[in-house]
Amino acid sequence: MACTLFLAGCSGPLSALEPEGPSARGAATLWWVMFYGSAAIFVAVSAVLAMALFRPAPLRRLGPEGMIRWGGIFFPLSNLVLLVIAAFVLGERLLATPRDPAPLRIEAVARQWQWEFRYPDGETSFDRLHMPAGRDVDFAVTSEDVIHSFWIPRLGGKIDAIPGHENVVRLRADRPGTFGGVCAEFCGPGHTVMTFTVEAHEEEDFLASVDELGNGEGGQ
């Protein structure tokens, strides 16, 4: 019962803890590992403090140098080395490395306060993103004015939309469905409402939805 409540607490239309794609799943797994690890470390350090206050004898035997060496250096260092390596490997897997054949590429152009999505054959949509489910998509993200940030929490990490630069993020939706997207970087008064909807379709539905958009006039 408590468990269900807890899991319910982690869900929501924009929840990074309810992943629907490999990028978000990797980050969520990393989060849970770090969460339980941190909880254990916190309990351990608190226990040492409690010992120092109430049962100091064993700590005294270890001596001050011993405590600083073990608690201050070896303990955090060993944890960090493992964590940094794990995070680096995970990060490498999520990168949009060039490959053959290249994944589908969709351009996301941010402006105050609207998202424009451009598909390979020149179709465009506004604030509603169509993507195929079950395969990787490279999103090439840029901005026409201030800095924004492109984020679909249930699919994966965010990337900033920076004027004059183009950043690529590779995302995949495991299954068809509708997900929320937001602008994550403060971009002025319209920041709050600069959201978009992501529709992940089966392959043929995706093609049909994009065809329907037409060139530069479709969308909302």
Binding site: A24, A27, L53, F88, I162, G164, F186, T192
Partner: protein, 837 residues
């Protein structure tokens, strides 16, 4: 020149010293230069700003308490959260630590005041005036609204055309003058102005923390100051540095901002950690364990903190391998932090801990800060950061670190040192419930906010739909924040009650063993009736016994002479006394300088640019007036300092504190200049829209003449000093320096004027600013050389009294070298651009 008889009577000695050191009453209060007085004023002012920032936080928590509670639109909300962050970071945290440092530092070092009392006062006025500009702007409804890190292009004139962003850029830079002043003051004071015998490895640990923090400020603040100047130049005069359509890059701002912003976090945390390192031994009844390990750890934190700034920028599209480097470095900072935490725990384990109110607050610090550190390591991991960045997870993390790492230890410090301020002991009646309200309220507000962030709530949204599912989490946070506010209100009431009704005590209520307790409490304006001779590490003193001895005048300088405010300086490492430092009397000059500087800032803010030049001239003149009457017209030689020893007054020595101050000012100035060169290089490498249509063409004759002029200015400075120390008049050499600086200014300005349209492209703008900046440095050189002439006319210079020329020489050399670098840098970028075409 006579010494009044060393008084065996503590009362008479007190009266004599108090007559010299006390701040006058009435309007004379505004002439205060005393560290005890100004430290308290800083602390009170910082607390007022904390209350303002806290009220803004309440408004934020009301606005987003649920999906139905928004009461202002996004425009006003932008001002509210921008001001909350700005006030808390720049007007509360940094000045609060400065106030503590100003109040405590001389007392910890066994000195009577800081090295530069008038600079303390000037810093205070800059802080108050700069802070007032921001608060007035907020009351007028034109507060900054681009977020406290002011990302461009949102904060540029295209997207924030009003005065809002200018208020931030100018107001905060104004306040930062005060931070840099405090940094120079703290560094020089710790290095030089200590009690005899206090070698560098005998200092109270807090002095080490403050020294390292202040050094970090000297190198951390200039990048932000440069960024603010460049952004203001772009907004006011159209010079592009950040505008991507004209060869600028918004990422340059982010680099400059976080080059400051990350060290800033440790600049806030380390002084608080220093306070923890002072309190734990007192309550553990055992000296600090791992004194040297802690010093090494703090130095390691300082170095690492300058290599972490990119972890605020993991989502801007930097190559993954570079991210991995910054990720590892960010994680690594946990190690020296853990060293400190385990040294504190080990101190408790070795001692016989006893409970008192400060320990309760330290418990809160421990709990909150460790959690903040753990989420910090999480955020350092790149794939998780991509999800959590710019969400409420980060908001929760940063509050855990800053409230845990600064506010809780500072509240502990408030209860620990309050008896020192007031001479009255604490009782427990309100401090305990206040703690539990603050601690409980804080965790209620921010613990679940981690989850709010992971559920996808971005920072700085003004409202949200009910479907997002964040209502109950936010409501709990808001309830917690109100509990916390009630706790802070109780804390304030408690402080007032204790200041007013606390029970008086005689001396040293905690049985602490550090020098600040070896004096009457509340402290006298001169702190120590006579200065101690430190024989052992300064946290192993018998403060009660020492205090009585010093008050009786048996230490150094237990007398008055010539109406001078005297303290001693020591050799940096050995602690051997080497100079008699004569400090300035109470004066209104810092106030006038502060007002003139404020007038300059206001002229810039309201775009009265011609008038601003007059205000600037006034400010410079008022600062020059500080030296009037300082020093002496005849050599006095070594004077007795008590205990049978003698020392020369500081102006007759080779390297008095003011010489060191110039060295550290140059270090900060050099960082500012290096940041500009970094900016120029960064834009060439990274910014879109390069190369520009044409490279700048500096020609050859002007630059060569310019190098000659710069070299001859340095020669003038060196020749003047050599002539003076050889017993000749330095006038001709000083005139050469003046003429050379003047020539350099003209040449640099004509090179800058030769750039067709600096507003057309960042390449032209950076070259233009590099040259003008070099000209400004030569302008200062002109002032220093002219000042030398003026001092010579006044009869203040002699073979023994060469300080003014020594300081001048440092600047002439420095401005020549950096001027040459500026000219060569313009050449180099022109060549790079030319060859790219």
């Amino acid at each position: 020149m006579s010494i009044e008889q060393a008084s065996p009577n503590p009362i008479r000695l007190h009266k004599e010293l108090a007559a010299l050191w006390d701040t006058p009453a009435g309007w004379g209060r505004l002439s205060a230069v005393n560290h005890t007085v100004l430290g308290k004023r800083f602390i009170v002012a910082a607390f007022v700003f904390f209350a303002i920032g806290g009220l803004l936080a309440m408004l934020i928590r009301v606005q987003i308490a649920t999906s139905q509670t928004a009461f202002v639109g996004p425009e006003i909300y932008g001002q509210i959260f921008t001001m909350h962050g700005t006030v808390m970071m720049f007007l509360f945290a940094i000045p609060m630590f400065e106030g503590f440092a100003i109040y405590l530092l001389p007392k910890l070092l066994g000195a009577r005041d800081l090295a530069f009392p008038r600079l303390t006062a000037y810093g205070f006025w800059c802080y108050i005036f700069g802070g007032s500009i921001l608060i007035c702007a907020m009351l007028a409804g034109v507060a900054p609204d681009s977020g406290w890190f002011m990302y461009t292009p949102l904060s540029s004139s295209t997207y924030t055309p009003g005065i809002n962003a200018d208020v931030w850029l100018l107001g905060i830079t104004f306040v930062e003058i005060s931070a840099l002043a405090a940094a120079v003051e703290i560094v020089v004071t710790v290095l030089k102005v200590r009690a005899p015998g206090m070698s560098i490895d005998r200092m109270p640990i807090m002095a080490w923390y403050l020294l390292i923090t202040a050094l970090m400020m000297l190198f951390g603040f200039p990048p932000l100051i440069l960024g603010s100047i460049l952004l203001e130049l772009e907004r006011a005069f159209g010079l592009p540095f950040f505008d991507p359509t004209r060869g600028g890059d918004s990422l340059l701002w982010q680099h400059l901002f976080w080059l400051f912003g990350h060290p800033e976090v440790y600049i806030i945390f380390l002084p608080a950690a220093g306070a923890v390192s002072m309190m734990i031994p007192t309550f553990a009844r055992h000296e600090l364990v791992g004194y040297r390990a802690i010093i090494v750890a703090v130095i390691a934190v300082a170095f690492l903190s300058f290599g972490l700034w990119v972890h605020h920028m993991f989502t801007v599209g930097i190559p993954h391998l570079a991210l991995a480097f910054f990720s590892a470095a960010s994680g690594l900072v946990a190690v020296p932090t853990a060293v400190q935490i385990f040294a504190w725990i080990a101190t408790l384990a070795q001692g016989r801990p006893r409970y008192d109110v400060p320990m309760l607050y330290l418990g809160g610090f421990f709990f909150v800060f460790v959690l903040g550190g753990l989420t910090g390591v999480m955020l350092a991991m790149v794939p998780f950061n991509w999800q959590a960045h710019d969400t409420h997870f980060v908001v929760a993390h940063l509050h855990y670190v800053l409230v845990g790492g600064f506010v809780f230890p500072m509240m502990a410090a408030a209860y620990y040192w309050l008896p020192h301020f007031t001479g009255r002991v604490s009782d427990h009646r309100l401090s305990v419930p206040a703690f539990w309200l603050i601690f409980g309220g804080f965790n209620l507000t921010f613990f679940l906010m981690h989850l709010t962030g992971l559920l996808g709530m971005p920072r700085r949204v003004a409202f949200y739909p009910v479907e997002a599912g964040w209502d109950w989490l936010n409501l709990i946070s808001s309830v917690g924040s109100f509990l916390m506010t009630i706790g802070f209100a109780l804390f304030v009431v408690d402080l007032v009650v204790q200041v007013r009704f606390g029970k008086a005590f005689r001396r040293n209520p905690w049985n602490a063993r550090t020098p600040e307790w070896a004096m009457p409490t509340p402290p006298t304006s001169y702190a120590f009736g006579s200065l101690p001779h430190i024989e052992d590490r300064a946290d192993r003193l018998d403060a009660d016994k020492l205090g009585a001895e010093l008050a009786g005048g048996s230490g150094y300088l237990g007398f008055t002479r010539n109406g001078w405010l005297e303290t001693l300086t020591v050799d940096m490492t050995s602690g051997r006394p080497d100079q008699l430092l004569v400090l300035p009397n109470q004066t209104f000059k810092p106030l006038w300088s502060g007002l003139a500087t404020g007038a300059f800032v206001l002229c810039l803010l309201f775009k009265f640019y011609w008038l601003s030049l007059a205000a600037l001239a006034l400010a410079v003149a008022s600062l020059l007036a500080w030296t009037q009457g300082m020093g002496a017209r005849e050599d006095v030689g070594a004077l007795p300092i008590g205990r049978g020893e003698v020392a020369a007054p500081h102006w007759e020595t080779e390297r008095p504190p003011s010489w060191w101050a110039m060295v550290f000012c140059i270090a900060a100035e050099g960082t500012l200049f290096a940041s500009l060169l970094f900016g120029a290089l960064f834009l060439w490498l990274v910014a879109p829209g390069w190369p520009p249509p044409d490279a700048v063409s500096p020609g050859t004759i002007l630059p060569v003449l310019c190098l000659v002029a710069l070299g001859s200015a340095a020669l003038g400075g060196r020749g003047a000093l050599a002539a003076l120390t050889a017993g000749n008049s330095p006038s001709v050499w000083l005139m050469l320096a003046c003429a050379s600086h003047l020539a350099a200014i003209v040449l640099l300005a004509s090179m800058a004027a030769g750039i067709d349209d600096p507003t057309a492209h960042a390449h032209y703008a950076t070259a233009f600013v590099t040259l003008i900046y070099a000209a400004v440095r030569s302008g200062l050189g002109l002032i220093f050389a002219g000042h030398g002439l003026w001092r010579e006319r006044g009869g203040y210079l002699s073979q023994a009294r060469s300080l003014d020329l020594r300081i001048g020489k440092l600047w002439h050399d420095y401005s020549a070298v950096t001027g040459a670098i500026a000219v060569l840098a313009v050449f180099a970028t022109a060549w790079l651009v030319g060859s790219a075409r």
